[in-house]
């Protein structure tokens, strides 16, 4: 294993946090602006359907959230539970893929 993989994971954790900071602000601002005057679920779906830019934005949001939470949980597992090594890595990779699949399928439901 590359000796500096731990640092690169830490860097990915920090960069994903920076991206999430921006995404969350855009998301909250979008929500607040969108619901001015009230919107039903059907109206929301009508507006998001076919909006591929929004789909790309929320897909990146999902990947950043999955990256950040998985690497964070990996550190917690190692430092608090003493659980590390290949078994923890496999479980956390599965967790990362699960989050990505759930998030992107939800984005697909809105956009497609």
């Amino acid at each position: 294993m590359n000796k500096r993989i731990e640092f690169k994971l830490w860097l990915a954790h920090r960069l994903s946090a920076m991206a999430l900071g921006l995404f969350v602000v855009v998301h909250l601002a979008g929500m607040i602006i969108a619901i001015q005057g009230g919107l039903s679920s059907a109206e929301i779906l009508q507006r998001t359907s076919g909006n591929y830019a929004m789909g790309l934005f929320y897909s990146l949001f999902t990947i950043a959230a999955a990256t950040h939470s998985t690497i964070g949980l990996r550190t917690v597992a190692r430092e608090v539970l003493g659980w590390g090594g290949m078994s923890a890595n496999f479980v956390l990779i599965a967790f990362f893929l699960f989050l990505c699949a759930m998030g992107i399928s939800a984005v697909g439901g809105l956009v497609l």
Binding site: K3, R4, E6, F7, K8, W10, L11, R78, E79
Partner: protein, 241 residues
Amino acid sequence: MEDNQKKIRVSVWRGGEDGTFESFQVPYVEDQTILDLLTHVQRTVDNSLSYRFACRVGMCGSCAMQVNGKPRWTCRTLVRSVIQDGELKLEPLSNLPVVKDLVVDMKPFFDKWQEAKGRFEPSDSPVTEFVPIKPDDKQRQKADEAIECINCGCCYAACDVVELNPNYLGPAALNRAWSLINDAKDFANPERLKAVSGDGGCQNCHTNSQCVARCPLQLNPTRSIAGLKKAVSLATLKGEI
């Protein structure tokens, strides 16, 4: 002046890793240090007590131990400033193997200094022109802040990341690496940047700043480690290491 009427109870760690506390009643003397108190115990009560000291004036960094649960220099800590309910608890420094009583084996601590390339490395080629070091140079000021460390191990004993992850290089070794990275006459980079970002590297620091809180010299290893994180991140993103 010794006040024979007033005594304090001192619980001192005796033995190795599996040792236990032994209590001593010692006279309370105004302005005595923890080191004075230990010397009293060793000279008048039990001469088998082991503890480490050299300079007695806060220069050598050899007398640190846990005093009421916190790492401190015994030579510069007054009993009256740390005593709680007339009692003191003295233990060997945390996060290091106990040799006997209050003496720890500092080898893991200094091994990590070497691992972090905490040694000055001059240029391989002969020096033709000396680098001017100006006191107001920003890089030099960063080195100046970190360079006063005397290797006492208080920060290492206080660091909860070292406690959780024994591979972590620790605040002192990383602080030393930061002082050398900012030394214009040192030529160990980028190898030193690689050395401080391995599995036990700077990225493990949680910025809890226990090292800052416990440093008897009021140094700021957390800031040094933050500098290392930034330097290694930039070098990694640029593909230099």
